[in-house]
Amino acid sequence: MPRPGFVHHVDRSTPPTLFWRGEGFSLERLPADRSRIIYAPEPLPAIDDIDGSIRHALEHPIDDDPLSSKMFPGMKLTIAFDDVSLPLPKMRRPDIRQRIIEAVLDTAAAAGVDDVHIIAALALHRRMTEAELRHAVGDRVYDAFAPRGLLYQHDAEDPDALAYLGTTPHGEEVEINKRAAESDLLVYVNINLVAMDGGWKSTATGLASYRSLRHHHNVHTMQHSRSFMDQHRSELHKSNWRMGKVLVDSGVKVFQIETTLNTDTFPQPFDFLSKREWEWSARDRAAFVASSKSLARTPVRLARKIFHSIEAPHQMTSVQAGAVEAVHRVTTEHVYRQQLVEVQGQTDILTMGIPYICPYNVHSIMNPILVMCTGLGYFFNLYRNKPLVREGGVIIMTHPTLPDFHPVHHPSYIDFYEQVLSQTTDPKEVEKYERRFAEDDWYRHLYRTSYAYHGVHPFYMWYWGSHAMQHAGRVIIVGGDTAAVRRLGFTPASTMSDAFELASDVVGRSPTITHLHTPPLMVADVS
């Protein structure tokens, strides 16, 4: 039986704690008697018969008719699936999307459906490479559909491939992929790594255009989503749900398939990264020493390559299909069952180690903007009810924060870093530059024809962190490149002790400290 999440109160006997530092990690000693460490729940057992469960879900959907009864000869069927940003790290083959798409295609074949398109729902993310597509949908599906042009990636900048469906009562325009909108059935294959994923966000965000996305990817929405992981208090969630209603009213028929994964994040010999330090075996300690010492002497490019080649052993814990909202309710329960940890009270200082990966740098570089987004956008928001850190508290992150950018994946990030962040780091001020980047023809060209994130994407990353920036009194990055950290508007520190010293200006001499021991992912239910 897997153990639930655990809050450990640090005393003198507590061993040093693991902190991620990008493509490396270190052990740090937290002050006794006023520090606590939050450990994620252990991975729930995976479903034994995964393929059987998928087929059962398709034929016994929630609040909807069986998938087979929705298919008929001559119909237009579109299957959309989540892109390379999920799951993290990428899962071992066969990917869950492959299993589901094959099951859906089996049903379609049995019903005599000929007209099938498969679309990677990547919104404004970069296009996936052939290897990434093959990993996600499997060789069989790729070889059957890609050569005929029937497996392709959503293009949010192709006016001929978009359909405008109307506006919400709040004036939000809804524009999504035309093929998906005009199909007799849109089957969306989703991976819910966190509670924020899935639901109407799948279609209303994954298949949308900039015209539509700008209505919820903005500073106001992000600052009023408290947090993204709590549907009832997330403006982002509400906006997507309003757009979902427009989709339904426009006659878009969506059959939603959502899956949840357990938190079995790292394969051997890196499984010690998920363990509680006092439970490390001799082998774990040897693995830590060997890997941390050798990584310190490894060129960064090689270290990145090694880490991005990691395939997580995580497996499916649930699959449900049917009507979007009903399905998402069940999915969210499963996500919480795996990730929720009860935590009492807020803290003065929240510490977090930033790992080598986030949703936007798969097979790429974690640039300073993504470091900010991972720490303040994602990890800070891993809460329900109240943020882990009190208002005016300090957030301490550990990451090298090198000013390195992937020139193919993140071209607009480079200009954002040089041209916008050099002027201001205030999200509201930053927002004023958005349109220039969003409508830049060169970025648009790179997004459509290369493997670049959309021109507006670095702005969205900055907005993700806007709630945390507004909430925290100071943000400190330990071990980061001094100039890059300052460019982000944060305070650099060389050691954890220095960081605590710098934090004392804001939170006093004896602050309480909470360390978020993630990954694996968790959500702190703060009372």
């Binding site: 071992r92 295609l105 074949a109 049995a110 005599g112 060789d139 599906v141 070889d143």
Partner: protein, 340 residues
């Protein structure tokens, strides 16, 4: 020195050799004389008139004892043979592309992966070495091959070589005897996985043959799932009747493991396995989606080829091989002159 004065070295050597073997010859002659004079038990017994000596039970064919091949020394030797010469030979002759291994992933992920029965189509002697290379771990290292008793186990040398190199054990082609099935059940209980060719032998004409129920029967007796496997290309490289192999490419496609359904007869289960292999063949020839649609329409091309005889059958085969992605690397040259 004059030519005639040189010593005759050949005759001298012969004399020295004769002197050296003389004592051994003397001992052998003495022993032979003693044995001849003393008789039984130094000589074979004479058979009384009117008595019929029962023939010693044959240790060849289906009774060939291959237990030695599954002991540690033979396993170590086989590991060297399989990972060395066999792998190289397969790569050089058959250059295999392997698909569908992910379909076995759920079983491989279990703490104790169950033994499996691999049921491929059969066109060539290359199929078995190919399978020993293509089958994924953890099953590859514990793989036994059911080989025709009347072909591979007709002499001790042949049988020992097959058992040692391929971990083969004898099985009757036509009917799986109770003794054979008991032996296989014991092997499966011990954790060994099995390769069995349900067609019973290599294809005589390049098309598949009618499937026998061996794999289905063994699955229902042992509880081991059957993995349908389609092998493409080995027939063109070294089919039945070929004088020598001609290097080419092959494709091995693994299907989803199958188990007998509640109340399903062996015959029906065998037909299901055959249909699964035919769908894999369709998938290999076209793609997954085409194969699934053909299967749903009941239009999956048969493994046994068109229902015609004579040259039309061969004609269809050459057409099928021409469009296949596996087979000979170099196409055969035209054997007749151009007349235009």
């Amino acid at each position: 020195m004059a030519r005639d004065d040189r010593p005759n070295t050949g005759a001298a050597s012969l004399r020295r050799l004769t002197r050296a073997v003389a004592p051994a010859e003397r001992i052998a002659t003495t022993v032979g004389r003693l044995a001849g004079s003393r008789g039984f038990p130094y000589r074979a017994p004479t058979i009384p008139v009117g008595v019929e000596v029962p023939k010693e039970a044959s240790r060849l064919g289906a009774d060939f004892d291959t237990d030695f091949a599954r002991r540690a020394p033979a396993k170590a030797a086989r590991s060297v043979i399989t990972n060395g010469p066999v792998r190289l030979m397969v790569k050089a002759l058959a250059d295999p592309q392997i698909f569908g291994v992910d379909r076995l992933d759920d079983l491989a992920r279990r703490e104790e992966p169950p033994p499996l029965i691999f049921a491929p189509n059969h066109h060539s002697h290359l199929d078995t070495p190919l399978m020993t290379v293509a089958v994924p771990e953890p099953w590859r290292s514990s793989l036994v091959v059911a080989a025709a008793a009347d072909y591979f186990f007709t002499s001790r040398v042949k049988g020992t070589a097959a058992a040692l190199a391929l971990n083969a054990f004898p099985i009757d082609r036509e009917v799986t005897s109770r003794a054979s099935s008991d032996r296989i059940r014991a092997l499966v209980d011990d954790g060994w996985s099995l390769v069995i060719y349900p067609e019973g032998g290599r294809s005589p004409d390049g098309w598949g043959q009618a499937w026998k129920g061996g794999a289905a029967y063994l699955s229902s007796r042992t509880g081991a799932p059957v993995v349908p496997v389609f092998i493409d290309g080995t027939g063109a490289i070294y089919g039945k009747g070929s004088k020598r192999p001609r290097p080419g490419r092959t494709r091995v496609v693994f299907g989803h493991p199958l188990t007998p359904l509640e109340g399903e007869s062996t015959r029906r289960f065998s037909a299901r396995i055959e249909a699964a292999v035919a769908q894999l063949a369709d998938e290999s020839a076209h793609d997954f989606w085409t194969a699934r649609r053909n299967a749903a329409r009941g239009a999956t091309p048969s493994l046994t080829g068109p229902d015609v005889t004579g040259w039309r059958r061969q004609w269809a085969l050459s057409e099928q091989r021409r469009s296949s992605q596996a087979g000979l690397r170099r196409r055969q040259k035209r054997r007749w002159p151009r007349l235009d």
